[in-house]
Symmetry: D2
Subunit: 418 residues, 4 copies
Amino acid sequence: MPAADRVVTDVARRFLDVRALTDTLAERLSPEDQTPQSMTEASPAKWHRAHVTWFFEEFILRQDPGYTVYDDTFRYLFNSYYEAVGERHPRPDRGLVTRPGVRDVTRYREHVDAAMVDRLERGDLDEAALELVELGCNHEQQHQELLLIDIKHLFSTHAFGPVYVDREPDEPGVVTPVGWRQFEGGVVEAGAVGSGFSYDNEGPRHRVYLEDFEIADRAVTNADWLEFMADDGYRRAEFWLSDGWATIRETGWEAPGYWRDETGTRSPDPADWTTYTLSGRRRIVPDEPVAHVSFYEADAYARWAGARLPTEFEWEIAAGSLGAQRGALLDPGRCHPGRAGSAMIGDVWEWTASAYLPYPGFVPANGAVGEYNGKFMSDQHVLRGASAVTPAGHERLTYRNFFPAPSRWVFSGLRLAR
Amino acid sequence: MPAADRVVTDVARRFLDVRALTDTLAERLSPEDQTPQSMTEASPAKWHRAHVTWFFEEFILRQDPGYTVYDDTFRYLFNSYYEAVGERHPRPDRGLVTRPGVRDVTRYREHVDAAMVDRLERGDLDEAALELVELGCNHEQQHQELLLIDIKHLFSTHAFGPVYVDREPDEPGVVTPVGWRQFEGGVVEAGAVGSGFSYDNEGPRHRVYLEDFEIADRAVTNADWLEFMADDGYRRAEFWLSDGWATIRETGWEAPGYWRDETGTRSPDPADWTTYTLSGRRRIVPDEPVAHVSFYEADAYARWAGARLPTEFEWEIAAGSLGAQRGALLDPGRCHPGRAGSAMIGDVWEWTASAYLPYPGFVPANGAVGEYNGKFMSDQHVLRGASAVTPAGHERLTYRNFFPAPSRWVFSGLRLAR
Amino acid sequence: MPAADRVVTDVARRFLDVRALTDTLAERLSPEDQTPQSMTEASPAKWHRAHVTWFFEEFILRQDPGYTVYDDTFRYLFNSYYEAVGERHPRPDRGLVTRPGVRDVTRYREHVDAAMVDRLERGDLDEAALELVELGCNHEQQHQELLLIDIKHLFSTHAFGPVYVDREPDEPGVVTPVGWRQFEGGVVEAGAVGSGFSYDNEGPRHRVYLEDFEIADRAVTNADWLEFMADDGYRRAEFWLSDGWATIRETGWEAPGYWRDETGTRSPDPADWTTYTLSGRRRIVPDEPVAHVSFYEADAYARWAGARLPTEFEWEIAAGSLGAQRGALLDPGRCHPGRAGSAMIGDVWEWTASAYLPYPGFVPANGAVGEYNGKFMSDQHVLRGASAVTPAGHERLTYRNFFPAPSRWVFSGLRLAR
Amino acid sequence: MPAADRVVTDVARRFLDVRALTDTLAERLSPEDQTPQSMTEASPAKWHRAHVTWFFEEFILRQDPGYTVYDDTFRYLFNSYYEAVGERHPRPDRGLVTRPGVRDVTRYREHVDAAMVDRLERGDLDEAALELVELGCNHEQQHQELLLIDIKHLFSTHAFGPVYVDREPDEPGVVTPVGWRQFEGGVVEAGAVGSGFSYDNEGPRHRVYLEDFEIADRAVTNADWLEFMADDGYRRAEFWLSDGWATIRETGWEAPGYWRDETGTRSPDPADWTTYTLSGRRRIVPDEPVAHVSFYEADAYARWAGARLPTEFEWEIAAGSLGAQRGALLDPGRCHPGRAGSAMIGDVWEWTASAYLPYPGFVPANGAVGEYNGKFMSDQHVLRGASAVTPAGHERLTYRNFFPAPSRWVFSGLRLAR
């Protein structure tokens, strides 16, 4: 009996729901689409699908002596970065692993799904193991987002812009002026409280001293960004961090990622610009939040605007006061931000002024999963919120996303503070 | 009615035979296998299959106003290096073009096959066009070999060595001592005489002055090569060209391409070494001709052996005197050299001492096809003969293959002269 | 009358003292020594001497219409990174600028010295200008340290280890066990109070919330480091940040910068190791603070030791409680750390856990000097204290030094916290 | 008594003359000028002066047990590429060796000069040793040319173009039309006959079969080159070898080395272009032979002109028929080509169509000096003639100069054939 048809426990249901979304996202991709790696930071879709499966096999199923490993070579092929697990396939060469193919990866997923459901139904997993299952589900959700941004990057390198999802063009709307929400300083608490799932890097909850601050009531939009460009924002060194200035001179960036000037005039008219979306190349929609900007660009924009980026603690306090408001989260039929609204979670991740560092008292989990977050705590920048390709339920007020400063293939935007 | 079932002219039959072999070679490759590019010099199998098809479309079919182009984007995607045809997809990114997929490439092949057969049957192609058809057939044969060496390279990067073709292991045989065949010098003629097909770079036939020379009666074998290794051949600078020495220090090469020391002892015992073959990783067979050595290694070996490489003219004169003898050519059920015998054509390409330069009076063909050979006449080295993955009928006494000195993914070996 | 012989004001005296130390440091360097640049991050000694001079000319003297510019090409040649000042010589090519030579640079220094003393004696500089003079003096002191670490790096590339300063070898002493000093958490104030000179990046003074913490009463020593090495510290991934692990695998680092294993045994005996010092290659002195480790190594050591690096605020609170204690500062006759003692300022800079970020409310100075510090506030790490090549008087409790994580040509060590 | 004042033998006189010219060339260079290395292929002037000295010490003086080595570290520091002599300083870091300085190198030269003159006067050197002395003299002459082209390259990187030698600007003259000299084909002899000094690579003299050919009666001039540029020579792929086209797209070359378009209009008017010369930046002189073009550019020009480059054998036959005619050779007061005249030797080296390969029967000398030429016989191109910085007496009809195809810091031009 296929796993999906059985009566299952809540945990198993949660597990299967997450697993099913991955399959849904992969359905539109041919075996060829799922094979290449368009840059070192990205991974093949096929690899994502196998790696998240390996995670359950490695950390849950292999603990059970009765489990039959699907294919022992997969431990080498689909370990991402866990040194404690052993040697692994070199990251830059993930796109060369043509075998297993997509069909075999699907069978691998089915094998692990069945074994996991069996295991979950048996009811003998202890608390630590159940936490690892939940970690595995969150891990897979995180990779659902990565799968989509990696496919977007891959498709964008194609001269004729393939379409991942068909949808109607968005009509341009009205760009509202920015308003400012005010917060008083003092000692505040930040970080995950510990009820409900969170990654280890979100804790411990701890005290922070904040000065008074103001934060914008909406994200920076494409229309705002065109003004920055029209004011020679990419050509005036005074707005830029030194590394940022070096980066844009070396890369030649003059606009956000995926943007293209269709007229060669660098006009500030949105109608002259297109951007590659998961529905193919589209006109810029002025009232959408700007996406695919690097930390350097976000920081330069803020300086140009006479403002700054919020720290992650300012952001968390401000977002906490808004309650359950959400912008666009992952809708497989859209995969693109909506209009900039008042919600702080959703649409685009927002760069903060904070470096990605451990909170006071941070201790990574024991064993290989302790490598999940902690070892990346240097030279990365915290993004907060969530994006239009973050699966619903995976977003969280205390979520700390992190990327190096030049990254812009994630749906990354910004919000001003001062 | 499918093209393959029709009564066809000789030219069409020749055309269809060549086309069919490509399909046979691709049959064992999954869509995933056909997608990646494992190094800049290699191309995806899918790309090879489409590119050779584009060649017929571009140079034959597009001349006919009645022809319906299959997909206009393919001109950009599948042009290899013809500047005169226009812009093209960047070579290092061929592995990122997931669309068209394998199925669509197959349809493209069928579309062009049908149109070509139609065209050939109509009987209205002039001599120049028929020569282009024959050039296209040779071009496709050349790419059949490239497809196989590129797949071999791709598969060799896989930690678990996939098998392209199943076959029994070869039994080690006896390595015969080298004999020397003697030739007297003087003015000789070399190059293609012009009856039957040849590439433009094989002519014009012209006179060359040769000194007396001797040439070995068999290729250098794996057993020979192990002696060179055992005598510290890779560690003694006195045998090496300066660029060769720099290359092996930078790459760390200590043995031919695809070889692996299974004991870590660098023993000269063939039983301790394996090589990756298209049938997976196999023990070294001592009496096979050594393959996958660079020009630098071939040259160093020759110096170690107190000999030298033959010039391409010496090689041609010597091979011409042997008549129709052939070593192993492409057998889809084997794809691997046989034992070193007296034939000079087949098994492995043989590096010569000659730089790849135009013959006196060489003029490339008019138009885009003039870019086929001539523009590569700098800093490459001539190989003569043919290999175990060269399609039968494509080999030729005057054939000039050429690769840069460090190349070793081709089945490249050597023969001594003095 | 030479500037140095005149009766001068206090400011002029201060100016001339700083200038004189630069000349003293350069005296032991031949014109050849002063010319090359051994890596992009370093600069030629001659360039340092000219650049600090240009700083006074650019920001003070050129404001005076009566000033005669020494050589107008120097503005291009000796601007370091001030975009607002205009185009400049590419940083990686500083070692190719052979003209002006050392003698001409000396004349340039004399010209600017004389003009500066004139200007200072005239007594008509306003407060802002006098602050720029003081900034220029601190700038030159900072470059005195850079000149020495750059020369150390340059000389270390020489196969026969030139001696910059002759001195007796240090006798090994006793390594004392680490003690821990305890501090209670709460809201504290950090940053420069504004009396006396400080860089803009040291302010504004602001409140920070700290948890309780302990900090070691001495720096990590060479003896400690040898234990880490003996315990396979450089080979166990579990201690390392991901970027750190990648860095040591790529670079092959197995010991601090300038260390050399003289026996090839990687023994933990200090007698088997040497380090390049400004007095040539010397035996490791066990009770000296370890120097020339990167942030990655410092962080890994701390994790191995079951501790962590202090934040820059913890460091500042702890150092503040020690008062005026100083370890070794620049002594031109030594240029090397002393034994690890209780002082936190001196001997070696200490890596902290803090990223180099603006303090709340930070605003860079107006004009070109605003580029002095602020634009480097990304992806660098704060070091606190001072080193044995920091000029006395330049060290400060609130001083924020900063370097990228892999840097180790500065005298960089660490102190544990927990 | 200083060596230069003594009565000396002819060989010693020859030796001292060569040595003196090196000193003359270095006199205008400051210690700073003599220190850096502006690219890997170039060397510091100081290094050239020491290396040529080391050559005599290594191959002559060290054979004498009574000789006192000047400094044993110099064997490591100043060996260029002789593997047989042992380890040596890495080539790309020659510019970091500040010690020995210029003064010490001068003393080293004096030490070796004195010892050599002693040795030569003693009259006990055997024939082989005397041949090595002559080789050493030729070696030093070769480095005189290298010293000048390396200094030209170094100075050209300086924003303000230093002057090596003062001289009046050349007046533009009249460009004469090209005439063609005709030669009949057949078996000819080429290579050094063995009387008088020649490098090993110039022999053995051997027979070659040539077709009929014509060769231009003057070199290609700057005026000719401007026509090629005006006809979009650098933008039309059809003229270029594939590697050449890739090179100019990557480098952005649009004119010969050191040329600069002073108007930004890329006009074909020589008055709008300057070139960096050893006398500083100067206007293009139309009737001078073009210099500082790569093999790729020379080859493309020839194709554009409907001609080709001569082979080195055609060149040698043609130049041999002209007798003792010489263009400009090294005049320390000029260091720049004269007007294009009928001489084939002098002014600029001329790229040929020939790859740099061993002549039939070539055997390198025994011992370390066997590395002088032979090991470079791959992937380089032969230039014939001599240039305006080749010392008089060093030029030779059979001289084979060689450089990789993209090189253009040598005074390299071309002459057409067909």
